[in-house]
Amino acid sequence: MRVAVIGVGMTKFGKHPDKSLVDLFADAFFEALEDANIELKNVEAIYFGNFVGEMTDGSANLSGFVADEVGLKNIPAIRYEGACASSSVAFREAVRAVKAGYYNCVAVGGAEKLLSAGTAIGTRALATAVDGVYEMTAGLTFPGVFALAARYYAKKYEIPLQKLREMMAYVSVKNHKYGAVNPKAQFYGKYGDLKVEDVLNSRMICSPLTLLDCCPMTDGGSAVIVANEKFAKEVCGDPVYVLGTGQASGGSLFRQGEDIIKAIPRKIAAEMAFREAKITPKDVDFVEVHDCFTIAEIIALEAMGFFEYGTACYATAEGVTSIDGDLPVNPDGGLIGKGHPVGATGTSQIYTAVKQLRNEFKWNQVKDARIAMTDTLGGDFGTLVNIILGVD
């Protein structure tokens, strides 16, 4: 039996100092529940993604509190941690449990509060996703990981670094343009008319990446309702189906050697998802990829099989990945424009994919979209999840 997504919800991404992690999940959960038009008692389990609640809010054992908060006392509730891919890992596990017949209907989501934590704690918290011994002692940060990748990309593919920086800037310009029209985005109404020069000239964070090459720190929550086909058809006529999923893992960045620009675990995860969905990259109408940094979007699109290695930068600069291009990428603004509340990011990508496939993403709708793919990256290519969704 197929597995479907029957409801989606997300908070506005941005700053929420007045909400706890549990509150942020609950807000998104009830939006998803109403969207699915089901009753609370239909939800049999909660799959909850959170990365660094310990460091930002002093809270770790969150799943029970989340379940209790939404009124689902005593149901199985599990916290999943896979860095930035936490809720995508949770989603994939939920899909597998429903497919296996353990549940008819479950909730999946995530919450994170990095913006309220401040830059110093936020940067340290994010850095817990790198190798804690060898990479941490060198002071490697997350912008640092992708700065290393960017310089190596330029070298390996024989592109002058300045030329690559300009092409990377198009990712930021595009994603900010789409984030600026998305009411749920952190930068709604802001940076909609950014220029390449603005990106190049903004403050240097980790050379060669500037502030506008980076996604922001974000507070937010997201949730989706996953059900088997039978239950899905009872409550909504034409649901969005999960066509395929894939997941793979990788070790420390330095152990990956020259593959740091090839993201091999992502290649494996994407191929797994394509195989299960019985489709090829050509069949995908648009993608939600993990653009934690501008170069990250470029590397992701190549590893997933949409472009040859070393070429997605040119395609991006030519507009191939814009809303009216051959392969729209991150029509919701992506992590750069929409924001990146780490544990909530994966299911927020599902949120966008589902809204687009239902033709409900009116502020930046991809025309005639029938198949969508999401891509979430945890750590320095440590946890990779790809999900393919589609409508009949």
């Binding site: 941490m136 002692t137 060198a138 002071g139 940060t141 290393l148 964070i205 980790c206 960045l253 740091i260």
Partner: protein, 133 residues
């Protein structure tokens, strides 16, 4: 084995593992060969020489590392094959204004203050790369 690795590095010795099955090197040491996953490994001291593959100048540091900015993090390919991470012992301005990739380097270690979450609570030992010539 990270304590042994760092303490050896302080004495100027770069500790790695040589695989008795496929002949390749793993550095820093791991339970398994980084190439073939074999556990049939023996400790060995590597040359400590290599080539800069990529680097970044970090201006925004995590909590606990603020006093060290700006610093230059680099990935170096050792002559024996493995890539290793550390810091380039160079003025960040020079790293910013020049292309230091492909430069030949040798490895050494510096002791620096630890921080709340780092596994070694007394001090951090940081691999550094000195540019040769």
């Amino acid at each position: 084995m990270f304590m042994e690795f760092f303490n050896s590095l302080l004495e100027g010795k770069l500790l790695g593992m040589k695989c008795k099955d496929c002949g390749s090197y793993t550095c820093p040491p791991k339970h398994t060969c980084n190439s073939c996953s074999s556990r049939n490994l023996e400790k060995t001291i590597l040359s400590g020489k290599g080539t800069v593959k990529t680097y970044t100048i970090t201006y925004v540091a995590p909590m606990g590392y603020e006093k060290e900015v700006p610093y230059v993090v680099a990935l170096v390919e050792l002559d024996e094959g493995p890539w290793i991470i550390g810091r380039l012992d160079v003025d960040p301005k020079i790293a910013e204004e020049n292309d230091l990739t492909d430069k030949r380097v040798s490895i050494f270690a510096k002791e620096m203050p630890s921080e709340m979450f780092y596994p070694m609570k007394e001090k951090r030992i940081v691999p550094y790369f000195r540019i040769e010539g």
